[in-house]
Every structure is written in C-alpha cells, then in structure tokens.
Symmetry: C2
Subunit: 175 residues, 2 copies
C-alpha cells in the first residue's frame, strides 16, 4: 500500500470511539466523534499555501485531504471537541513509502506541523511529529476496508517518557 | 527482534490500562490491572504437557512463560478480572520470526488455543488465533523498554466483522 492508496482508503465519514490513557494518573478519557476525510485538489489554495509555508513545490504533493472532526469527551461534557485541518503528503523522491506530511494545525499543540511518515510492509501508516515540547507518534492501519485503528502516543520531547496513549476504532459510515 | 528477545523484554510486572470498545453499541469499558510475566523452564511440567497436547516435541519450544493478571473493570465492579495462563512459542523451522504460540487458556473463549505469530520488521509481535466462533488478532509493541502497547481485535469467525477492539497501555513496575 502506498500513500495514494492509503489516503484513498481513508476517504469518507467515520464514526470514532477514542480512549485516551493519561498514564501518570492512570486516568481514562472516552471520546466519541464523527470524522470526515475529503480529498482536496492539488490546486486548492489551502494546499498551495501549506506547501509554500514549508518551502515545497506544490507539484510534488500527492493526495492532499481535509480532515474534520466533531465529538464529545466524557471529561468536558459541556465542550464539544471539534476541529479541521488540511494534510498534504510529500513523498520522499529517494525512498519508497516514506515522506513528509504537512499539516496546517497539529492537535498536540494546535500549531502547523510537519511530520515524517512511513508505510510498513504490513500496511501500517506510521507518523512521527516533533513539536517544541512534545513528540507525537501515530500508527494507523485498516482491519478491513470499513474499520481503521489508530494509536497515538504523546511523548515528552526528549522522547523517552510517554504522557498520553490513545486508541481510536473507526467504523466507516455508509449513510 | 526475535521471539526470544521479545519474551525477554516482556518479563516483569506491568501496570495495565485497558480500554475495550464494543463496536456495535459504541460502548467503552475501562479495565485496570496488574500483569505478571515470568519465565518458565523448558522442563516445567506445564510446558511439557502443553506441547504434548498439540503434538510438539518440547525440545523445539523456546522461551516459555506464564502470564497472570488481576484487575478491575468498570463494567462489573464487584467482580475481579483475573486469570493465569502458560504460553509456549514454537518457532517455525523454515521461516524466521514466525511460529506457533501455544496457550493453555485463551481469553476469548477460555479454552486452550494455538495461534500463529509473526514479528514484523519494526518489532511488532502479531498473533492471530482462530477459535470455533471467533478469531482474535493481537499486536504488541514496545514504545521503550518500560512501555508496551497492545491492540486486540475480536472478530466473527468469518473474519470480516470486528466485534470488540481493545487497547492496553502497559507500564513496567519497578518496585
């Protein structure tokens, strides 16, 4: 599976159950949300702007997409968990199934971010993103075309301590 | 990482936070437990018995171990979640990093089971076990020597439907 196939398989509306484990306190958080993943044109202004921010020629981008989510956490009942971001994969010209992923808003620190992705032999998408004070490591894989799993780890920037580990099971909505 | 190294890295006492997603109902279950993983001798009677049950020569077994767990679910507050089982890896003589895992008690149907394991290039242990009416697929990997992640999927035996997806974050206890 290459990045184009992975993004194509991800397009659609997903119902997500996410559990976050706050490791220091042994605390559980449960979040239910809907996620929409829609393809963008390579000529979309948001895609071109994001490429320019990170000094990439928009011509080398493949399969850009927008991800939006809206949901509810059992921690902050009154507050909706929602957001949207544009993501642009830039394949590495020298290494198959590796590259950069540009994002106009990261969810660990809510700032623009660029991560390093790779796709393993068994079809797992792995994304590592370094922020100023933290690092995020994410694995996403398909169990079947309609079920995705996602594990996200937020670490201290030194990289050794894991602060939060979260798991999402995502079911494709066919309505 | 081969199976001997993987088992060696797993030996110890772990504090586990597990979230189970019951997908049909969108229900979350939270389980906190302690897990003990101790090495067994290849000459341990339980190891020899389990090999005989599945017609393997105990001499081909490597790194057998016992796993015990005790914890509490938020679903059945009054009932302790606990158990113990013996696990015996039998490497495939013809394929590196693949083999059978014998278990004297499976946790999906609480019967003895034999699964197929493999270790991926990035060090993830993958275990697939077929039961009469269900199939279990498990991935375990180390984030660092003191943090393990585990994703378990219980599927219908046809293999397409995912019934339960669960995620454990496991922290080594050093006391």
């Amino acid at each position: 599976m290459d990045i184009t196939e992975f993004v194509a398989a991800s397009i659609g509306r997903w119902r997500s159950q996410r559990s976050a484990h706050h490791l220091a306190f042994g605390h559980f958080e449960a979040i239910q949300s809907e996620i929409d993943i829609v393809p963008l044109s390579i000529e979309d202004a948001a895609v071109i702007d994001l490429c320019k921010t990170y000094n990439f020629d928009p011509k080398v981008a493949v399969s850009p997409f927008r991800m939006s989510w809206a949901g509810q956490s059992d921690w902050e009942e009154s507050e909706a968990v929602q957001g949207t971001c544009v993501l642009v994969p830039i394949p590495d010209p020298n290494q198959a199934n590796r590259g950069k992923l540009l994002r106009d808003q990261g969810y660990a620190e809510e700032i623009a971010a660029v991560g390093d992705y790779s796709l393993t032999e068994d079809g797992t998408f792995v994304l590592v993103t370094a922020y100023d004070r933290a690092a995020a490591e994410e694995k996403i894989w398909f169990v079947n075309p309609n079920v995705r799993c996602r594990v996200s780890l937020i670490k201290t920037s030194a990289g050794t301590g894991v602060v939060t580990a979260s798991f999402s099971s995502e079911i494709r909505q066919t309505s």
